[in-house]
């Protein structure tokens, strides 16, 4: 199923800060399954990618494509009954995360790799003040005293752009606005300056003006601390603004992987094309919004052959029998589609 490929790629077109011989995170053949009453759901089904230090990688895809599960599995936070299948490998900062014991894993979580969740209202503990929650991260990982941890929490709140951080630190999540709560989540994730931050749709629950502020904050913090960012989103606007590289996921697999410029210029997989076409454009007033017909199939029975073929306007006979592999399209640009080898099957699409 998965192409065995070297974990380390050398690529002259690599974005800034990407040290070619040292991927910070290398995920190889990641498989996550959930044993459900309707059968074994293969939510993530053979995903491989790397992230270099300081790099920003975006994962895009519809709901149910496995992007959030893949993100949670990096910190081994998959809820029961989910499990990471044997054969999967996650190497991070010189460690094999899947063989770490609980104590060693604990020292990674929050300190070297942290996570920003989609909905800050539910991801913050309602009975603790926000200052306590940030200070807790410090206290769990360092020998800082209560007072030092609190001081660090307050200065981190100031760092993420919260006015009156001394006062705000003593307030509870429900006393803050949605944007401020997400700033608090970011402060929690960044307080120990981790090397990798996973942000699972960090702006989805916020209104548009706040979204821009939060993205700006993430970008500023990334540039300040040199952290690597794995940004999960379904918003291609966010991708264009933040990413150096993009992974497009569909039905538990990566279907296209490209530097951000290449993705927008020469998207190859019909699914990626569909996602790009579905973005409303200001220069085309009127008409219907373009959509991709159909929905993501159930993770308990992925179709044989190409998993996208039922929704694909170009599908041909081979798509039904052969599961496509990720193949090279251009410099560090790969797509999981038979059209790469057989472009004659591409049909002209009338808009």
């Amino acid at each position: 199923m998965t192409v065995s490929r070297p974990l380390v790629k050398t690529d002259p077109a690599a974005p800034n800060g990407w040290a070619p011989n040292d991927p910070l995170l290398a995920v190889q053949s990641l498989r996550v399954t959930f044993d459900t009453t309707r059968g074994l759901a293969r939510a993530v089904d053979g995903v491989s990618f790397t992230i270099a230090a300081g790099e920003t990688v975006c994962v895009v895809g519809e709901s149910g494509c496995g992007k959030s599960v893949a993100a949670l599995s990096l910190l081994r936070l998959i809820p029961a009954p989910g499990r990471i299948e044997s054969g999967s490998e996650i190497h991070f900062d010189g460690m094999n995360l899947l063989t770490l014991n609980e104590e060693a894993l604990r020292s990674v979580r929050g300190r070297r790799m942290s996570m920003i969740f989609q909905e800050p209202m539910t991801a913050l503990n309602p009975v603790l003040t926000v200052g306590e929650q940030i200070a807790e991260v410090v206290r769990v990982h360092t020998k800082a005293s209560r007072r030092e941890a609190w001081a660090q929490a307050v200065s981190m709140l100031r760092e993420v752009g919260i006015a009156d951080p001394d006062v705000r630190a003593t307030e509870y999540p429900h006393q803050l606005s949605g944007g401020m709560r997400q700033r608090v989540m970011i402060a929690m994730a960044l307080v120990l300056e981790p090397r990798l931050v996973i942000a699972d749709e960090p702006t989805t629950a916020l209104d548009v003006t706040i979204q821009a502020q939060i993205l700006e904050l993430l970008r500023a913090q990334r540039d300040r601390t040199g952290l690597a960012l794995l940004l999960i989103t379904h918003d291609l606007g966010v991708v264009a603004e933040m990413a150096s590289r993009v992974l497009v996921m569909y039905a538990g697999q990566i279907v296209e992987e490209a530097p951000v410029g290449a993705l927008f210029a020469t998207a190859t997989h019909p699914y990626t094309e569909g996602l790009l076409a579905a973005v409303p454009r200001l220069d085309q007033i009127g008409g219907r919004l373009r959509t991709i017909p159909g929905t993501v199939p159930a993770a308990t029975d992925w179709p044989t052959g190409c998993r996208f073929r039922a929704r694909c306007p170009h599908a041909f006979a081979r798509c039904e029998t052969d599961a496509p592999e990720l193949v090279q399209v251009g410099p560090s640009h790969r797509a999981r589609c038979h059209l790469v080898q057989e472009p004659s099957h591409r049909k002209a699409i009338t808009p």
Partner: protein
């Protein structure tokens, strides 16, 4: 229900004690939410009486020297609740009995909360096979009628000491709490903020203490209040049957038992301790009920 009605502030407790969140609610909601005050006042009153019983009681609860002169007196100015067959002042005995009955109920409920919360939290957090075994054990325990079990044990235990009675009530009263706590812990374990805390490296005892247990407090308070009501009634029943608190230590139940021979002739022996029991049980129950609404808990059965 549709028209907002402000219920007069019966308890007189100050508005300042209410949180800002409560004050901002609509009048209907806030009057419903203030229902806890009246029963709470009654409980504070009962507790005060219990604490200061030695100062408040006009006589000793024990047999007086001149007992043969003052047996079975009807209520009068000298003995407002009358006297019993041994010449003891019933008012004094009811006051002293409140210390026994209330502290016994509180202590045994406290014990059952500790047991039930530990058991339920372990089952809910560990999950899997251990959880299944713990829950089957609980099913077995719940299938034994509590009253029959208590009757069986106390009937064979002569001169049951008070601490033993507390232990018995406590160790047979925690099964419901365990089940509630287990369900709530399971629910909490799936909350985003618990996942988020795990993502920052929090685990084990700290997770339980900081991120799980504080959320159980409303549930436990409501459950404890309702349990205290049930335990006061249960203890009164056992003591009435002569199986609970042993004379001469007074409890509301065993004072009533002394009067059971002559309800018509010595009504004061049953009526006054009976009223005390009813007030205590009702107040605890009303408080638990009001707090359940206040905390918007629907998983605690009435």
């Amino acid at each position: 229900m549709t028209t907002p009605v402000r219920v007069p502030d019966l308890s007189g407790a100050s508005l300042a004690s209410l949180s800002g969140e409560m004050r901002s609610m609509s009048p209907v909601v806030s009057s419903r939410q203030r229902r806890w005050r009246v029963p709470f006042l009654f409980i504070v009153l009962l507790a005060t009486v219990a604490v200061f019983a030695p100062a408040l009681a006009p006589y000793s609860p024990d047999i007086p020297a001149n007992y043969d002169a003052i047996q079975n007196l009807a209520p009068s100015r000298a003995h407002p609740f009358g006297t019993d067959g041994l010449g003891r002042d019933v008012l004094s005995r009811v006051l002293f009995a409140s210390r026994i009955s209330l502290s016994l109920a509180f202590a045994s409920v406290l014990l059952s909360l500790v047991l039930g919360t530990s058991y339920g939290a372990i089952a809910g957090l560990v999950g899997g096979g251990i959880d299944r075994w713990l829950m089957r054990g609980l099913d077995v325990a719940l299938s034994i009628p509590r009253l029959l079990l208590l009757l069986a044990v106390t009937a064979f235990w002569e001169n049951l000491p008070l601490t033993a009675l507390i232990m018995l009530l406590g160790t047979t009263g925690w099964f419901d709490v365990a089940r509630l706590v287990r369900g709530e812990v399971q629910r909490l374990a799936q909350q985003d903020f618990v996942t988020a805390a795990r993502a920052t490296g929090v685990r084990g005892a700290r997770m339980l203490r900081v991120h799980v247990l504080p959320h159980l407090v409303p549930l436990l308070i409501v459950n404890a209040t309702l349990s205290v009501a049930a335990t006061i009634a249960l203890e009164a029943g056992l003591s009435y049957l002569g199986l609970g608190v042993q004379p001469p230590t007074p409890s509301w139940g065993n004072i009533m038992a002394e009067g059971s021979g002559g309800m018509a002739s010595q009504w004061w022996l049953s009526v006054f301790p009976g009223m005390a029991t009813v007030i205590a049980v009702l107040a605890c129950h009303a408080l638990g009920d009001a707090l359940r609404d206040r905390f918007a808990l629907d998983q605690v059965p009435a």
